[in-house]
């Protein structure tokens, strides 16, 4: 089991989920099983984390030939980039099963499948394998929103599915193109990511393939202006689906940019990074502004999440180590803070049977523990020093300033924008006078406190002592940055060469 | 030479029969016309040394299937008023010919590329019951069995579909 630790982390939940779907288990049995499985995965994950060296390369590699004729392999591995996304999912999942006690069997089964598929997408070392997991992880979300969502669930399901499928089909085409290009250049078939980095791409087709990849990831992240599926899906989806989407799945989009786009499309990446960076920062401001106009707290959180994703995406495109490390750190930080916020929103919605901010108020007086927990997650989300949100945001702003002053200054405004809508929402939901609806609000139960405690502890620990995390992230980020810098030098040299040619 | 004449005679008959099938308004007339085609086709089979098929065509097709059809037509006692009004029939026919002509042309072009061969009667028991039977039950056993299942299914299906008594009340 331990030599196949990643495979176990992927397939244990998937198989458990399928078993749940196929057998007539009661909903409590399903929940218990899901909890046990996710805790087992957590134990595996902790073992993986402690065994991880962090030298920058892939570790815990598993490699088996799958389709020899096409060079498609079953390749898995983790490095500093994937480790934390994997761990974020692993740590956060058990709490869902602790918190949501009243759902049906399918709810838990789908969550388990999503967990496994996401682990697979993060650890895949082969483009085709990645693509398969990438698509599989959408399926449970599709069912969860469609089956357990709110009033507009069908429209939301269609929207998210069509958007993401459109993106990923373009990516599939780009993957095929890469495979063929690889075969043409080296005479063998391979979809291995490490091999792909050796590929030399030129011309319009390369740009198209780059766009294919970027579009798929931009939709998943979501980068402005591809974010319009997000508010609907996050709002109408059940709490756990929203949690999975915002806390982990969106991060896989960011992860995929680092993992695939930077090594394979280095030249295109450096050429279009500025546009992407602007998209990121515009998305941050745009969604931040949209958030203040929301009357529905879940939709507001959705926009806030999209706004933060803009900042995280910005960090990718700044092409320096601070911003990239910040981005990767922020991935985890945002997973914990926004994940927790959506879980709180789920609890709020379940207990109050409303999503309208105007219907609430005075909850802090009824439920001080809930209010305090919410406040901690909220403060992490607005990037207060001492919480996890600050480190990443600070590093990204720092890196952005170096990359481009205008972008850096705009990115800095996230400090203000975030706090405006968050505080205003907090005021209307938790402060002011309570009404007959919120009078009845029940504070968190012991099990819920237990479920949230690890998340909150993580938020604080990552804010006060982030260095152990950064130490594992930085070497992997440095490799990517070196790739980028190398590409920039090559581009400069080419430009120089062309210049001298013109002079002659 | 005689075979040549015979072929043209039969071909003319079969085409006329087919045209009749398409043109006659009443299905009874069409069916009769169609029988002519079937019988002339049986002659064609004979000319092509397919002795067993000649017999089968006459007995099964012209005999059994067509009599079933004619029986049903008579059974339903079709009046002029039962027939659908087909006002644009001529137009459809002309249009159809226009549309189908390229298909025919295409097929004909393909056929023309085939090697010519003579159609003299082949002896040695070619196309006789014994030899066809040997092939049928040796190399075509599985399709044969499947066809038998198909016939069974069709039989049951026909009974179920046509045998609903309660409808029409």
């Amino acid at each position: 089991m331990f030599e196949h630790i990643i495979s176990s982390m992927i397939f244990l939940p998937i198989i458990a989920g399928l078993i749940l779907l196929l057998t007539p288990v009661t909903k409590n049995g399903a929940r218990a099983m899901a909890l046990v499985v996710s805790v087992a995965v957590l134990i595996l994950g902790l073992k993986l984390y402690t065994g991880f060296i962090g030298a920058g390369g892939m570790e815990f590699v598993e490699n088996y030939v799958w389709f020899p004729s096409l060079g498609i392999n079953y390749t898995l591995g983790v490095d500093g980039i994937s480790l934390f996304i994997l761990m974020a999912g692993t740590v956060l999942f058990p709490s869902i099963f602790l918190i949501f006690t009243t759902k049906s069997k399918g709810y838990y089964a789908n969550l388990l499948i999503a967990q496994g598929a996401m682990a697979g997408a993060v650890c895949a070392g082969d483009l085709m394998l990645f693509y398969i997991f990438w698509e599989v992880m959408l399926l449970p979300i599709f069912f969860m929103i469609g089956l357990f969502g709110g009033e507009g669930k069908i429209a939301a399901t269609l929207k998210i599915t069509l958007y993401t499928i459109a993106g990923s089909l373009l990516m599939l085409a780009a993957i095929f193109y890469l495979g063929v290009a690889f075969h043409n250049q080296f005479g063998i078939w391979s979809f291995n990511i490490v091999n792909m980095a050796a590929l030399k791409l030129h011309g319009t087709v390369a740009v198209l393939a780059f766009v294919g990849f970027m579009l798929a990831f931009a939709i998943k992240i979501p980068l402005f202006p591809f974010h319009t599926w997000l508010p609907d899906a996050y709002t109408e989806g059940p709490a756990a689906a929203t949690f999975v989407l915002s806390a982990i799945m969106a991060k896989i989009g960011v992860y995929a940019v680092i993992r695939f786009v930077i090594p394979i499309f280095g030249a295109e990446f450096t050429r279009y990074a500025l546009i992407m960076a602007y998209l990121g920062v515009i998305g941050m401001m745009y969604c931040g502004f949209a958030a203040i106009a929301q009357k529905d707290f879940k939709r507001m959180l959705a926009f806030s999440s999209a706004s933060h994703m803009g900042i995280i995406a910005l960090g990718l495109f700044c092409m320096n180590i601070q911003a990239l490390t910040g981005s990767l750190f922020q991935i985890v930080a945002h997973a914990t803070s926004t994940g927790a916020l959506f879980l709180f929103a789920g609890i709020l919605e379940e207990r109050m049977q409303t999503r309208k901010i105007a219907d609430l108020g005075g909850i802090a007086g009824r439920a001080p523990v809930f209010a305090m927990f919410f406040a901690i997650a909220m403060l992490a989300s607005v990037g207060l020093p001492g919480t996890s949100g600050f480190i990443g945001e600070f590093l990204i702003i720092l890196g952005a300033i170096k990359y481009n002053v205008a972008i850096g200054v705009l990115a800095g405004t996230s400090l203000i924008i975030g706090v405006c809508y968050m505080l205003w929402m907090f005021q209307r939901v938790f402060f002011e006078k309570s009404n007959e609806r919120t009078e009845k609000f029940r504070d968190l139960s012991a099990a819920e406190v237990l479920a949230f405690l690890p998340i909150l502890v993580l938020i604080i620990v990552m804010g006060i002592y982030p260095q152990p995390f950064i130490k594992k992230i930085e070497p992997a980020a440095r490799i990517q940055i070196n790739t980028i810098l190398h590409n920039m030098q090559v581009a400069d040299a080419n430009a120089l060469l062309q210049g001298t040619n013109l002079e002659k | 030479m005689f075979a040549e004449w015979l072929y043209f005679g039969l071909a003319a008959l079969s085409v006329l029969g087919a045209i009749g099938l398409i043109l006659f308004r009443h299905p009874m007339n069409g069916a009769m016309s169609f029988v002519v085609t079937l019988i002339s086709l049986a002659g064609m089979y004979a000319l092509l040394s397919a002795k067993l098929m000649f017999a089968v065509q006459l007995i099964v097709y012209a005999g059994a299937i067509m009599s079933l059809i004619v029986f049903i037509i008579m059974f339903l006692n079709i009046q002029e008023s039962d027939l659908p009004e087909e006002k644009g029939r001529g137009l459809y026919l002309v249009g159809g010919v226009v549309v189908i002509a390229p298909i025919a042309m295409f097929l004909y072009k393909i056929v023309r590329t085939l090697p010519g061969g003579d159609t003299a009667i082949v002896g040695n028991g070619f196309g006789e019951v014994r030899n066809v039977g040997m092939i049928l039950f040796k190399s075509w056993l599985l399709p044969f069995e499947i066809i038998s299942v198909l016939l069974l299914v069709a039989l049951i299906g026909a009974v179920v579909v046509a045998g609903k008594r309660e409808v029409g009340k």
Binding site: T228, I292, P368, P385 | -
Partner: protein, 638 residues
């Protein structure tokens, strides 16, 4: 000896923080069931600050034993985060500047905590209040002791958060919460300046180390333009935190919190952070005198504007709030003209008399059952003698009456401004001094002299318990004597504070003739006398609620600045949000998607026409297709 000091350095901010966490945990775990007694919380809350205060004294004395050029202790607790050339340690530094700051921060903070035991006695969420207070003090100590700008920023944001929590403490009333939001958001605007300043500073000279010592050593490498930019951006941060133009609007609203909170914000923590920061970065500001000029002008204009506001307020706490803004303006004028030690000295004396005034006001409010309007008080002199006397000391110090502490510190700033050639700033400063005397004694006279305006509450008024009056007396002594620490040589003093701060701040020493010094001092005293006399004439014999007209009305409504900001920033922000959400997002951003789905629908509708439902028609389509294909392929055959 130094080892102990290092040990203390880490512990000083930790003490109140531990208290905060402990109280917080106790409060949260017991909030639904049986609560711990309030006394326990009170003791727990006061232990942290008092211990921190004792340790601060220790550090101060240890530092004093060291030779002047070695008076700097750095204790790096752990590497906070390190990415590439960016290395940030969670480190604490004690030098003359920060040791002086923590000394009075912890001292006054402790007194305010003790005072709160009495003031908050009948509060339902006693524990929560003290948890926040401890957190506040801890954040301030981190701010002061941090060994680099990033660690300072932790405290910087921390005090912002705590001010939010405490201002919106009575959170059932939405106006209080709005005031808290305003404080936090306005502070955040300043913080943006701070962060950007840090970023520019880092990319310019931060690679060799991003703490004050390395920065100071490398400051000469900084290009002039960058230095200017960094200084201005950092000053934006300072205007947010220290309530200067244009970000001063939050401070008066911050009066929504309990009075001890106001005292803590105004005296010991938070608002002085901006001045401290400018002094801390004096090594940058001296390289660009233009930046200092801007700081000084903004400071003195703030002083003037808020003094004007202060003359027309009718809420006792608002008068004090504007006086704080005004005094902060003085401090910035001081640091702006490169008289850093004078600025810090004013911070020091101001901490005493402003804490005193707020706590005194708290006593009055406590006695009057949470009545804050000065026109409903009056004649309280007899009922609250201790409060009256201590507040009088505070008022004299605030208005710069010799020999109270405020006189010396304010005079030093004015003198520095005059001597360094900023005559206009000096002139405004003297004018503001007169106005300060006027509105301070207007408040004192209306509240304590004359006839009671509200008989019933006057009858119920009584002197608060000793737990509240003892801190008042201690602070009054401080307010009286603090000025002597920096007695100018003119009076035979040795300028102890200035020489103590010498190694930390790069003072610009302006020298002038003794006669000039006498002239400057004389004009300040004259301004005080004039302001006091006008107040005496108008209010000492009792006065009624005035009706404001013309300019007075304009000033009473604070020049409508809040309304202006609301119109310029808040409403556009909300409407942009609404436009994006209601119009732009569904129509423009989502437009392509909608267009595509419409296209699909249209194509589908078009194809519906073809679907007649007649089998024969489908067969015809099939044949037509077959025919077309045949035609195509026929072309290739001969």
């Amino acid at each position: 000896m130094e080892q102990t000091a290092h040990f203390y350095l880490g512990l000083i901010p930790l003490m109140p923080l531990i208290g905060a966490v402990l109280i917080g945990l106790m409060h949260v775990t017991t909030c639904r069931g049986h609560r711990f007694p309030d006394k326990l919380y009170a003791v727990l809350a006061c232990i942290g600050p008092v211990l921190a205060c004792i340790m601060a004294f220790q550090v101060f004395t240890i530092l004093k034993t060291l030779p002047v050029e070695h008076r700097i202790l750095v204790h790096k607790v752990f590497t906070w985060f390190s990415v590439g050339e960016l290395n940030i340690s969670m480190g604490f530094m004690a030098d003359p500047l920060s040791s002086l700051m923590i000394l009075f921060v912890t001292f006054i903070g402790s007194l305010i905590h003790i005072y709160s035991i009495g003031y908050m006695a009948d509060d339902k969420t006693y524990a929560k209040f003290f948890g926040y207070m401890n957190l506040f003090l801890g954040s301030m100590l981190i701010l002061v002791l941090g060994d680099g700008p990033v660690v300072m920023f932790v405290g910087w944001e921390g005090v912002g958060l705590c001010s939010y929590l405490l201002i919106s403490y009575y959170n059932e009333d939405s106006s209080n919460v709005l005031a808290g939001n305003k404080a936090f958001i306005v502070n955040r605007i300043g913080d943006l300046g701070f962060v950007l300043g840090m970023a520019f500073l880092f990319w310019a000279i931060g690679a060799q180390g991003f703490d004050y010592i390395s920065l100071k050593a490398n400051a000469h490498l900084l290009p002039q333009a960058t230095a200017m930019l960094v200084c201005l951006l950092l000053f934006v941060g300072a205007t947010g935190k220290s309530a200067q133009i244009p970000l001063y609007v939050w401070l008066p609203d911050a009066m929504a919190g309990p009075t001890p909170v106001s005292a803590l914000i105004h005296a010991a923590t938070m608002v002085t952070a901006g001045v401290y920061m400018v002094a801390r970065f004096s090594f940058l500001y001296v390289t660009v005198p233009d930046a200092g000029e801007i700081v000084a002008w903004i400071g003195i204009l703030t002083a003037l504007v808020s003094a004007i506001y202060g003359m027309f307020q009718d809420d006792i706490k608002k008068v004090l709030a504007y006086s704080t803004v005004s005094q902060l303006g003085y401090m910035f004028a001081g640091v702006g003209v490169a008289a850093y030690s004078a600025g810090i000295f004013h911070v020091f004396t101001h901490a005493f008399f402003k804490a005193l005034l707020f706590l005194g006001a708290g006593s009055v409010i406590y006695a009057m059952h949470h009545e804050q309007n000065i026109w409903k008080m009056g004649g309280l002199k007899k009922k609250l003698p201790v409060t009256y006397l201590t507040m009088l000391v505070g008022a004299l110090a605030l208005s710069g009456c010799p020999p109270f502490s405020g006189f010396f510190s304010k005079d030093e700033i004015l003198f520095s401004a005059f001597a360094s050639g900023h005559k206009a700033i000096w002139a405004i400063g003297v004018l503001v001094a007169g106005m300060t005397a006027y509105y301070t004694f207007r408040m004192i006279f209306v509240v304590f002299h004359g006839e009671p305006h509200s008989k019933s509450s006057y009858d119920h008024a009584h002197e608060p318990p000793p737990v509240m009056t003892v801190p008042l007396v201690l602070l009054a002594i401080g307010a009286l004597l603090a000025g002597f620490f920096n007695l100018p040589e003119l009076f035979g003093g040795h300028q102890m504070v200035s020489s103590w701060l010498e190694p930390s701040v790069l003072d610009h020493h302006a020298h002038a003739e003794a006669s000039t010094e006498w002239m400057v001092m004389g004009s300040s005293v004259l301004a005080f006398v004039i302001g006091f006399s006008i107040a005496y004439v108008k209010f000492a014999k009792g006065a009624q609620l005035p009706v404001f007209t013309g300019f007075a009305k304009f000033a009473y409504n604070k020049f409508y600045i809040d309304e202006l900001y609301d119109m310029l920033f808040v409403q556009p922000y909300k409407s942009i949000g609404a436009i994006i959400w209601k119009d732009f997002d569904p129509n423009v951003t989502d437009g392509p998607r909608k267009a595509i789905s419409w296209l699909y629908g249209a194509i589908g509708d078009a194809f519906r026409l073809v679907q007649t439902g007649y089998v024969r028609v489908y067969a015809i389509y099939m044949v037509i297709g077959l025919s077309l294909i045949s035609l195509l392929i026929s072309q290739t055959l001969n």
